[in-house]
């Protein structure tokens, strides 16, 4: 482990959580309480993204998220390098667990399916004529590249995330995988599309 100079408070957290007996129990309880506060704060920040019917379950969800974050922190204690304060490092887990649950919760009643009509909604409302022409050509080329060069899974993930604004965590849940794995598929799909567009004479679409 490549450990940096750890501040005193973080060192105390580590010592207590890696120890035994009452000190460990007390530190674990303090950490759990902190993670619950962070989870509730995150839920409060995201309240506007939740449909009304979903709000009543939010506190249970925060407690579950904090418990899972605590487990993750304890399991990964050995990987803490001290690059940030221990509490900042630990709060990261609570935010990840809470935000993932909230995104999924918000989409619980919604279907995720491939919708090709979305391509018709892509062009700008009123760009200048020349730009509109270039846009139309680019959109046609992109649509063709998506249709002809992506696998079915890549197409589904690409369109859902980038065009339908389906959260990546929702897709991960529906497809039984992780955020990282969905992102990797999206990343590969984007790279493939960029290559195809360049080959089709559309230059470097995005730097």
């Amino acid at each position: 482990m490549n450990t940096l100079a750890i501040d005193q408070e973080s060192a105390e957290w580590l010592r207590d959580l890696q120890g035994n007996g009452a000190a460990r129990e007390h530190a674990t309880a303090r950490l759990h309480a902190l993670l619950i506060r962070v989870a509730r704060g995150e839920a409060s920040r995201r309240r506007s993204t939740l449909p009304g019917r979903a709000i009543e379950d939010v506190d249970d969800l925060c407690v579950q998220a904090a418990s899972d974050a605590l487990m993750a922190v304890l399991a990964k204690l050995g990987t803490y390098r001290g690059a940030a304060r221990f509490t900042t490092w630990a709060c990261k887990f609570a935010i990840f667990e809470t935000s993932t649950r909230l995104r999924r919760h918000a989409w619980r009643q919604r279907k995720v399916e491939l919708d090709d009509t979305i391509w018709d909604r892509l062009p700008d409302a009123a760009p200048p004529v020349l730009q509109r022409l270039e846009n139309d050509q680019l959109i046609v080329a992109l649509h063709r590249a998506v249709r002809d060069h992506l696998t079915e899974r890549q197409r589904f993930i690409f369109q859902s995330v980038t065009m339908d604004d389906v959260p990546i965590d929702v897709l991960a849940e529906r497809l039984g995988t992780s955020r990282g794995a969905i992102y990797k598929t999206l990343h590969d799909a984007r790279a493939k599309l960029r290559r195809v567009l360049i080959e089709a004479g559309h230059g470097e679409p995005v730097s």
Binding site: E42, S99, L138, T162, I168, L197, V206
Partner: protein, 76 residues
Amino acid sequence: MTESQLQKLLGSTAPDPGCEGSGEFMDEYCELVCSGEPLPDRFAAFLTHMANCVACREDTESLLALLLEQEKTNTG
């Protein structure tokens, strides 16, 4: 299609460490931003991922908001 729409569709070509790789840097990044210190070059790939991944960007913004709130409480 605007530049930002194209960016949203195709992302950036710069090196991107993915969600797990970026997660390693999130806490350090937020503390550096809070302290106002300049970001070292090694955060370039992390920032690319933030531009490419909405979920990781939102999580980072949440951690940053939490730290800023704590700082405000501590100094207020």
